[in-house]
Symmetry: C2
Subunit: 139 residues, 2 copies
Amino acid sequence: MKLDVQWITGFVDGEGCFHVGINKNSEMTIGYQVLPEFTVVQHKRDVQVLHALKSYFGCGVVRSNHGDRMAYRVRSIEHLLNKIIPFFMQHQFKTKKRVDFQKFRRVLLKMQKSEHLTSEGLQEIRNIKNQMNRASQAT
Amino acid sequence: MKLDVQWITGFVDGEGCFHVGINKNSEMTIGYQVLPEFTVVQHKRDVQVLHALKSYFGCGVVRSNHGDRMAYRVRSIEHLLNKIIPFFMQHQFKTKKRVDFQKFRRVLLKMQKSEHLTSEGLQEIRNIKNQMNRASQAT
């Protein structure tokens, strides 16, 4: 299955999710681990679309999600910074997903500079995270 | 907002719905009315994308749906046959939505020949409708 760049943008505009997790982790000096994640979830009948996305981006994994659902997931900071983010910078979203995407990108750029390993940087990331994926966001 | 054809295909692949309603209607000789409908539902924050779809296709309406959700909706048989169906015949879906779309198209082609006004045609449409929008459908 060959995917067009604009088809990918439209599909992810509807179905994709940019999420930042912040988990307690005693192995980290700061006590917390920042876990950014790009996912596209589909019913298992459309798993071939998820594999086509994985193949297009050349990174990530396709795994089962909840029940009959499967997810294409990219968690690697390097792949997010070098593959996923540049693609959606070049092919812009039409929905308010672009707002979440920009916040997600800000978090990744901070992580690239290792700011998530400092208290101040972690707090900034937490503030950005708290403004993401909110149904009520206007801009 | 200008929409690319492949963006539209990708977005509708994820977010669109092709539905056939069959309602009791005593004003119809056959006692039932067939109501095909193409919809795209979004949170109201993205209503401008629905207006852009309406503008692109040159038909349909944008109306509130449930709660905070808005819908772009095309119900006119003429517009479905002459605008919506030809577009998605030319720009094919990648997900199993293409299966529902093909069934939807078969219903519309029957309606074009007024088959929905006969008992036999109505039963055929009912059979097609019962095979649509089922999560478990494999092909």
